[in-house]
């Protein structure tokens, strides 16, 4: 359960919101506050007012896996293996367990062949996959993806979708500009000017957006 009460932070203004769904997609125009909401929900920033509770705890007490849109800003290590290993290493896990976690996460995301590669030699999309593997290596209770799909091709985006679907996380909070991807979520939040303008199932939310470009392309051609 994600519970937001009286939240005010930068442009965000969300009086009251409770979401029990597992796979939650956050959509809306650039600058509507999607990333800000994700940073507050993942405990990266403390809200100026109000509160966010994940699984009845403050976000700082929850294991959160974060995948940002600009992987260059979050990747710390020069070798892919070390980047993925940083999650268990920062938690002081033993070497052997760390190695197992790294290899399992790389397999899940489909990048075992990149483990020895230099991060600087990777393509933009491959960096996004490394960031996802690093987030998954921590076995997060909540997985947060901030437009992680914006540098991915269709096939790779499907793979990320599958990884996210199969993750053990209780909640996946996923901000995306792909409405076709968002249409597969359990629950949607449509944000505008810092507020959650519409929320509900994809059917409910997209029914309100039918006359805008925020409508899945597949729904348009199938009618």
């Amino acid at each position: 359960m994600i519970r937001i009460t009286g939240l005010r932070h930068r442009l965000l203004d969300i009086p009251d919101l409770t979401v029990g769904a597992r796979h939650i997609a956050v959509i809306g125009p650039n600058g509507s506050g999607k990333t800000t909401l994700l940073t507050v929900c993942s405990g990266i920033e403390e809200p100026e007012a109000g509160s966010v509770r994940l699984l009845d705890r403050p976000p700082s007490a929850v294991k959160v896996g974060w995948v940002g849109e600009f992987p260059d800003r979050t990747l710390l290590f020069s070798r892919v293996y070390d980047e993925i290993a940083s999650t268990p290493r920062f938690r002081h896990r033993p070497c052997r367990e760390t190695d197992e976690l790294v290899r399992a996460a790389a397999r899940t995301v489909g990048i075992p062949h990149l483990l020895d590669a230099k991060v600087s030699a990777l393509s933009g999309g491959e960096k996004a996959l490394v960031a996802l593997a690093a987030a998954c290596a921590g076995d997060p209770e909540v997985l947060v993806l901030d437009e992680a799909d914006s540098h991915l091709d269709g096939v790779t985006a499907e793979r990320v979708g599958r990884v996210v679907q199969e993750a053990t996380a209780a909640h996946v909070l996923w901000c995306t500009q792909s409405m076709d991807t968002a249409a597969r979520a359990d629950y949607l939040l449509f944000m505008e000017s810092g507020a959650v303008r519409h929320h509900g199932t994809p059917e409910e939310v997209f029914a309100r957006l039918e006359e805008t470009c925020f409508y899945p392309t597949m729904w348009r051609v199938r009618r």
Binding site: P29, N30, T35, A121, S123, H151, D153, D180, M218
Partner: protein, 232 residues
């Protein structure tokens, strides 16, 4: 005006890129999966990387510009207005075009990622070079901004525009399709003839083709029109 790729070969570690072909005037879309070499090809075309063998030959191209995939790599000035001036453009024009009015004095890194992309994209398009290369111009943008970017691309009257993208929902009208897979570039040919053999067609276009429709171009509107024609 045209750009010829003559038996281009470039390698880095286990990755190698090969390509031949001619980019004529018009809009070209190069699609391909992550890591297939789209950005490397863009750098080679822009002559920011040199091939091991073969050549990129530009004919009657007097200006060329490359929009980098990550807009922050292109920023060189501490304010948005200075950044725009560094492109040789007037801040008011670009700010209006990029929907960033009153943001001229801001630090470019205080813009949201979509805003930063709009800024660099507007600068690149407004410079209007003979050869315009856009590496993932639509990533980070919402659908409204993507549509505007498509309109600006379509409004270019002359020159060669090459778009490297895996965008799956909002695409401009294009003249030719190319595919990049595992470092190898293939020309699918000109549109509409190339559309049925375009393996990276976005889902809505694939759906229209599977239904037996023959879209005139690759946009969602083209797919819907073609479907209307066969469904009556």
């Amino acid at each position: 005006m045209r750009v010829d790729l003559e038996d281009l070969l470039f390698s880095r570690g286990p990755f190698s890129l090969r390509g031949s072909g001619t980019f004529e005037e018009g809009v070209h879309l190069v699609s391909g999966p992550v890591g297939s070499g789209k950005s490397t090809l863009a750098l080679l075309l822009a002559k920011l990387l040199l091939p091991e063998s073969g050549a990129v030959r530009q004919h009657n191209v007097s200006s060329a510009l490359l929009l980098l995939q990550f807009p922050e790599h292109q920023i060189t000035c501490p304010t948005v207005a200075e950044e725009i001036r560094s492109w040789g453009l007037a801040p008011e024009d670009v700010l209006a075009q990029a929907d960033l009015l009153r943001r001229g004095d801001d630090d470019p890194f205080h813009l949201s990622r979509g805003e930063l992309k709009r800024l660099v994209l507007a600068c690149t398009l407004m410079r209007n070079p003979d050869l315009l290369m856009l590496d993932e111009p639509f990533s980070s943008l919402d659908c409204t901004a993507k549509r505007k970017a498509c309109r600006m691309i379509e409004e270019r009257k002359e020159g060669i525009t090459i778009i490297f993208s895996h965008e799956r929902a909002v695409l401009p009208r294009v003249d030719a399709l190319w595919e990049m897979e595992a470092g190898s570039l293939t020309a699918c040919g000109s549109v509409p003839g190339a559309i049925p053999r375009w393996r990276h067609a976005p889902p809505y276009l694939r759906y229209a083709l599977d239904e037996g429709a023959r879209p005139e171009n690759i946009r969602l509107a083209d797919a819907r029109e073609a479907l209307c024609r066969i469904r009556g």
